[in-house]
């Protein structure tokens, strides 16, 4: 047994470029192109103001992704806890120090991007959990003490995010964390117990919900309750989707979107607009592209020879899946309205940047899939 933490020969940058899965990048670009097209349509056939900005952001995102992918997975592993710590401090800072009136979530404005601690936390959480489980044996994973730590890793930021309040991110964090714990091999009894506790907590949670959040649940249960008020979004979204039919009303021909009956059509409800203009064909095509991306991530997870990389791939896969599913289910009226964007397609810089960073990590895991990393005994390093 070697004391050297890293095994395998170090890779040169050239090799890494060859190992980079360019097909996956093409897949992501195809997905992003749907977004560009829709943003072009929202502007009634203009690149300004949305499509062009989104393209630039995607371009920057691609750069970030490649850069992240080139960095050795072992370095990312070492940085996992520090990044988590930084993200956590940022979250606390926003919650405790941040002035509510100035927009609780905003931290840094980097021109095209706004750095939100909750976005950073999405990645940091995956990295921290992957790092944590990398160091555990299967037997350790289900021991109560070893369950407590990841539970805290997940629940502390979730608590902070809920306080912001940002229910969408909280759901995303806990579900992605749960997926990671599941694949890490945590005994099912913990999930059953968590599920039971969750059910029991519903009445308490209900009391803690903000009024507008409760309204969203009511509205979800019966959108016709208030068709011009709270139920308006979801009702108009279903009308737009349904009226699209098999082939859609045609690119830039969506009446619901272009006559403004559809709200938030360039952000959260962009899938609705796509369904209206390009129909079932367009919608299924986009979902198929997402599904291919998910399958690639799972493929990376299974190919990886180091546990950290596997769990990173699972984390990215779960996050992507949750984004897509929650957004689509929301616009189709299957879930209450939660502010979750459609990855790579919805207009917005922050989510785009954190996603591309995450895809970079995934790609780094892919490039370094053959690197074997021994299970390090230390929890911290």
């Amino acid at each position: 047994m070697s004391l050297m933490p890293m095994t395998g020969r170090p890779m040169r940058l050239r090799d890494k470029f060859f190992e980079f899965n360019w097909g996956f990048l093409f897949l992501l670009t195809s997905i992003a192109c749907f977004g560009f097209a829709m943003l072009y349509s929202v502007a009634d056939g203009g690149f300004a103001p949305w499509a062009i900005k989104q393209m630039i952001r995607y371009g920057i995102g691609v750069g970030v992704m490649i850069a992240v992918a080139m960095i050795d997975i072992r370095i990312w592993m070492r940085l996992s806890y520090p990044i988590y710590a930084i993200a956590f401090v940022m979250l606390v800072a926003v919650d405790v120090v941040g002035f509510k009136g100035m927009g609780a979530q905003r931290w840094l404005n980097l021109g095209l991007f706004q750095l939100q601690p909750s976005e950073v936390m999405k990645i940091a959480l995956i990295m921290a959990l992957a790092r944590y489980y990398h160091g555990l044996t299967l037997e350790q994973v289900s021991r109560p003490l070893y369950v407590l730590i990841p539970a805290l890793i997940i629940l502390l930021p979730v608590g902070l995010v809920v306080a912001q309040p940002d229910l969408g991110t909280a759901i995303l964090l806990s579900a992605a964390g749960g997926a990671l714990m599941m694949t890490a091999g945590l005994a099912w009894r913990y999930f059953i117990a968590a599920g039971a506790m969750g059910l029991a907590a519903i009445p308490v949670g209900w009391e803690l919900l903000h009024d507008y959040q409760r309204q969203r649940v009511f509205t979800f249960l019966d959108p016709t309750r208030d068709p011009l008020g709270a139920g308006y979004h979801i009702l108009q979204s279903k009308i737009a989707l349904g009226s699209g039919g098999l082939a859609g009303k045609g690119f830039m021909e969506g009446t619901q979107a272009h006559l403004n009956f559809l709200p938030e059509k360039h952000t959260d409800f962009i899938f609705t607009m796509l369904g209206e203009e390009l129909g079932l064909f367009g919608g299924i095509t986009l979902l198929a592209l997402y599904f291919m991306a998910l399958m690639f991530a799972l493929h990376v997870a299974r190919q990886c020879r180091n546990h950290y990389g596997r769990l990173i791939a699972i984390g990215v896969c779960a996050a992507l899946f949750l984004y897509v599913f929650i957004n689509c289910a929301m616009v189709m009226g299957l879930l209450p309205v939660v502010g979750v964007p459609l990855p790579l397609v919805s207009y917005g810089g922050t989510a785009m940047l954190s996603l591309m960073f995450a895809f970079g990590l995934l790609m780094s895991a892919y490039i370094h899939r053959n690197v074997e990393i021994p299970r390090t005994p230390s929890l911290l390093w």
Partner: protein, 627 residues
């Protein structure tokens, strides 16, 4: 290697659970796909319809209201383009500021401003509010140019009703006004729900509202979520309401109107053959144009409180005792009841019934009177006597044959039936027995008997035309369709009886000695008029007053004076027109009402189309022009 082995065991679990995760994701995507299929394929039609409902707005296009003209085509109710500015509250960000900007172009009174702000608060945001009306073209153009700077304001061209003759025809035409809630409840025409839509409120405008209103058009427009019209999809033009032609002659109407100025009076001129109303005036009146936009409280009050009742169409809605103008009817009743018209009744100026004394208007008496003389002199005693002999029910039956008590539904709402008293009527109304004294009063058209000028002219026309049952008609045609009133049963007057009445009425006007209205005879050579005066008492004259002498009308306050009435027809040789006139508290029928009727009759005859033609032909050169 132990570590390796342990890693392989956790990889196995990892691998299995990864496949499970993939399966969950696949299933979840399956749910999304199924939902899309459900929305976009199975329920497509329903959502397509909802989407169209969203974007397609069907707007009603209000039709232009039908014109109303007199018999010669003079427009008496028309439409004029009204340039106005409407406010869409939901599109205006700051109503006050917008109004301030607009007031630089168009003056907005404080009253209007309050009304607008009140409506903004009260109405739903999509309901347009009229901000300013009747703009000049220059103002309208300026608002159009500045529209982008005036959010929520829209220039609009409306049509508003205009009555060129104002009060002269107010009671006949009526006016239009905003729709009342009760009207919406009764009528499901969607037009009524349009803001600013006007319906007929009175007169012919109301009587023929459905026909005048026209048919709504529709405009399908595509609108966005804020209600802004993006483009027009399909338009179905409205159909203008039917043009309505009245039987009135506006020239005569105007003459009548002018002749009645200053009085509280009514005149109806009727064609005795077909019932066409040539003129119908009720004075004073109101300006119907003012009613369209609404009156102020003060204006309304002054109309309501006016002693001369300008809001009441006296011609059809004013109830008066007919007085002596009723005597021809009593005479007809008497003859048919077997009274010999040549039998004489001695008039001493008084008629004794038990303890009660009934007076003749001629204090000293008329001497022996037969029926002809009775009519000519309007001798009360003669009619007391015959009335008593034939009884009230015979009089009532005859009155009904002349059309009294009838409610004429001829297109001008508000016609009253009046009262034709009978034994049965009194029993029903007062639960009391009929008294003989009341018969005597009825014999001279006093007492319970109440009638409108319209009833009187119908009676005069039926006397003039030989007993044919004409009914009034004021709307000649609607949309080219001639309206013919339902014919009534012939009342079956005996010609010799009519001849006696006609003879009496002839003498009223043409007997220099004794004819009560000789002074009011026609001044057209060769053309004669027959008539009957009436002076209806509105107060009881006490015994004490009889002793000291009945107070003259001009010494009484206006309300206490007698009503002056008169009915007539001409030309006697070939009757064509009948006139009834009442001048409220005007004094004597002979002295006040008859001369006015004479002037009107001369004008009517002068303007008679058939006669004008006769004058135009050189066959009768010497007839001379009536002036």
């Amino acid at each position: 290697m132990a570590a390796k082995g342990r890693d392989s065991s956790r990889y196995q679990v990892f691998s299995r659970r990864t496949i499970l995760l993939g399966g969950v994701q696949f299933a979840a995507f399956g749910v999304l796909g199924a939902r899309m299929y459900d929305l976009q394929i199975l329920n497509r039609d329903q959502y397509k319809m909802l989407a169209d409902e969203n974007r397609i707005n069907v707007r009603l296009l209000p039709p232009l209201r039908g014109q109303v003209t007199d018999r010669f085509g003079t427009v008496v109710a028309g439409n004029h383009q009204n340039y106005r500015i409407v406010l869409m509250p939901e599109q205006a960000h700051e109503v006050e500021k917008t109004l301030d900007l607009l007031s630089r172009i168009v003056e907005i009174s404080d009253k209007d401003r309050r009304r607008i702000l009140r409506d903004v608060d009260r109405n739903p945001g999509f309901m347009p509010i009229t901000v300013a009306e009747n703009l000049s073209w220059d103002q309208f153009a300026e608002v159009n140019i500045n529209e982008p700077d005036l959010p929520g304001l829209q220039p609009d061209v409306g049509d508003s009703r205009v009555y060129p003759f104002g009060p002269e025809l107010a009671h006949v035409i009526g006016y239009v006004g905003s729709v009342a809630d009760a009207e919406i409840a009764k009528d499901d025409d969607p037009l009524l729900k349009l803001p600013d839509f006007k319906v007929g409120k009175n007169g012919v405008e109301r009587g023929f509202d459905k026909e005048l209103r026209g048919k709504a058009g529709t405009s399908q427009v595509e609108v966005n979520a804020y209600g802004r019209v993006i483009r027009e999809l399909q338009t179905d033009l409205p159909r203008q309401g039917d043009e309505t032609v009245l039987t009135l002659d506006m020239e005569i109407q105007r003459f009548v109107w002018n002749r009645l100025q200053g009085q509280s009076a009514s005149v109806v001129v009727m064609d005795v053959h077909n019932g066409d109303i040539v003129a119908m005036a009720s004075c004073p009146a109101y300006d119907p144009n003012a009613f369209i936009t609404g009156l102020s409280h003060a204006e309304w009050n002054s109309l309501v409180e006016d002693d001369y009742h300008p809001l009441i169409n006296k011609s059809i809605g004013g109830l008066y005792p007919p007085g002596s103008t009723f005597k021809p009817v009593v005479a007809m009743a008497a003859i048919e009841a077997g009274i010999d018209p040549t039998a004489r009744v001695f008039c001493s100026g008084k008629y004794q019934l038990g303890d009660a004394t009934f007076h003749c208007w001629q204090k000293h008496g008329h001497g022996p009177m037969d029926m002809h003389d009775g009519l000519k002199h309007s001798c009360d005693v003669y009619f007391y006597d015959v009335a008593r002999r034939i009884g009230i029910d015979a009089i009532a039956a005859m009155a009904r044959r002349f059309g009294f008590g009838e409610t004429y539904d001829f297109g001008v709402p508000g016609a009253k039936a009046g009262v034709v008293p009978s034994i049965e009527w009194k029993k029903k109304t007062y639960k009391a027995k009929w008294l003989t004294g009341e018969t005597l009063n009825a014999g001279i058209g006093q007492g319970y008997m109440l009638t409108t000028p319209l009833h009187l002219v119908v009676a005069a026309a039926r006397i003039a035309n030989g007993g044919r049952p004409v009914v009034p008609r004021i709307v000649r045609s609607i949309g080219g369709r001639i309206l013919v009133p339902d014919p009534l049963d012939d009342p079956g007057f005996r010609p010799e009886a009519l001849a006696i009445v006609q003879g009496g009425m002839y003498s009223v006007m043409n007997d220099r000695i004794g004819g009560t209205a000789y002074k009011a005879r026609l001044r057209i050579p060769g053309v004669e008029m027959a008539g009957k005066t009436g002076t209806a008492q509105v107060r009881r004259i006490s015994k004490a007053e009889r002793v000291t002498g009945v107070i003259k009308n001009d010494r009484l306050e206006w309300r206490q004076r007698d009503h002056a009435l008169f009915i007539c027809y001409a030309p006697v040789a070939a009757p064509r027109y009948a006139i009834s006139i009442i001048i409220e508290h005007g004094g004597s029928g002979a002295g006040v009402a008859a001369p006015v009727a004479r002037d009107i009759m001369e004008e009517v005859l002068k303007r008679d189309p058939s006669r004008l033609e006769a004058y135009a032909t050189p066959v009768k050169p010497g007839s001379g022009e009536a002036t």
